[in-house]
Symmetry: C2
Subunit: 344 residues, 2 copies
Amino acid sequence: MTTTTLSIADLHQRVEAIFCRAGINDVQSAALARVIVAGERDACTSHGIYRIEGILRTLKAGKVRGDAQPTLEEAGKGAIVKANAQGGFSSAAFELGLPHLVDRARTLGLAALVVNDCTHFSALWPEVEAVTDHGLAALVMCPSYASVAPAGGIRPLLGTNPLAFGWPRPGRDPYVFDFATSVTARGEIELHRRAGKALPDGWAVDSSGAPTTDPAAALAGAMLPFGGHKGSAIGTMIELLAGVMIGDLTSPEALDFLGTTTLAPRHGELILALSPEKFAAGRPGDPFARAETLLQKITGQGARLPSARRFAARARCEADGITLSAPEIALLDRLLDLGLDGVA
Amino acid sequence: MTTTTLSIADLHQRVEAIFCRAGINDVQSAALARVIVAGERDACTSHGIYRIEGILRTLKAGKVRGDAQPTLEEAGKGAIVKANAQGGFSSAAFELGLPHLVDRARTLGLAALVVNDCTHFSALWPEVEAVTDHGLAALVMCPSYASVAPAGGIRPLLGTNPLAFGWPRPGRDPYVFDFATSVTARGEIELHRRAGKALPDGWAVDSSGAPTTDPAAALAGAMLPFGGHKGSAIGTMIELLAGVMIGDLTSPEALDFLGTTTLAPRHGELILALSPEKFAAGRPGDPFARAETLLQKITGQGARLPSARRFAARARCEADGITLSAPEIALLDRLLDLGLDGVA
């Protein structure tokens, strides 16, 4: 197969140009390109250039503003920083709030960044790592749109509500996890349907709330949370903290707003930053050294740390560039050429 | 069977007297009695009067100080409040720090209480509810002692590391969950062993790291985290935040300190408090009303909220008192009579 290898900077330039061509303003295009290219670089392909068309479709459907200028709403003496995407994508608003979050967390020991009124399509690990890059731990969460039944329930209510965490490891890739609180992604169920394969037990219920292994019945019904009632409780917590508490849409409200699960959802996001130095001050031991002792006891017994595969891909791409297939290059060329006319 | 029904206040008095008789000082005895009686009142029997003997055994083994006076180490202008149990039990130190946590969270929007150098035996929901009683959301976590293998691992490293959350519901019982990040409790495996029953798949590995359904092999091996790699990641996060970050023992360190899993472990605890009013300020909608809309969509489809059974038991006991069996009353009488000589 013909492939093309680009440097990370070259791919960034191409992706950014596509967004600008589609009418998205500079501040948003640059921020969007950073997260898309980070996904591709990390071989996290579900959040790489594959996402560009969804972004453009959401714009074309009028569900997100390409001309939005994010604003800083609150960054005072308290522990809460608020950035507002003004109906645009989350990424530029996050970047606007980040330095204030870092400042507040370093000063107070603990702080939160709220991003409101944004369309969200990205993984959470880019934001987690933006915080750990400053030597702070991060806990990040957001709703999505109603597609998961609460444990014991029969209808979609919760989103796939991702939860992500990062711990800074000076001189190394951070400890990072980022996962959906549903047992699987909706896309996985769709893949089973296309392949004519039954679902594993415990993934979904049909529209009557009965357990099903039929992908079509599952798509008409609801996905299930991971880990039974425990995952369901965490998913509910995310609706409460990163929807209700921050004054933004819950997953059922996000679905009402969007009217479809084929576009990127509107909702808010909650990012907590914690300073290990402030928390550990006056206590025995260096927290970063002690964390290494713990993490080595995980890898030392043959278990992998989360994100290990992603960091390995990153190291390869940083050394050798990002290799795209001919259809992928053709997609980028087409979107740059046609703009919003290039998407259905 | 002969039973005795006591008022909540009467049971508190009896339990507090047992702790005082065993040589535990007044401030700790009162705080311990509050959490023990709360457990019994909520029919959360694994954390009720059943725990008294374990508390006394831990004291008798010299692993906790009955004469410790908790101290407030930090409660300044930042977002971190630190209480130190000075080698005593966690409960009195938590009570000492709580008003400062509430003050900081109300002022800043978000704050943390760290409890250090404590022996911890209680569920986390009493602490969650102490925070929600003040109209604040709470996220609470602590390590325990190494008994759970990380996903993909073969040896005990993580604790059963509970995670608990609460959302205040004015005029109602709060939304509260509190669960171990292991798939089950060690006590459950012991119960299967005594009953000669095989364990369900996915609960444990043997000492070689191979999956096992043999309870004895599981007890010699390791328990598994709930939800596979996701629960494992959350358990690791708890080690990092509520062990390493707060400068207190991780689960493997706690096991080293204690040398046994039959006594209550020494470690720290992390309590985050968040102000829905501060977070939602300036945003549309009342967060408490919006939370009710969400929670009604859970119960409205036949799913239960976590802690519902516990709150129902509480309502019964508050109306009718707490009913104990004759052996339970005999246990209380014996411990009051003999003090530390009453436990093995």
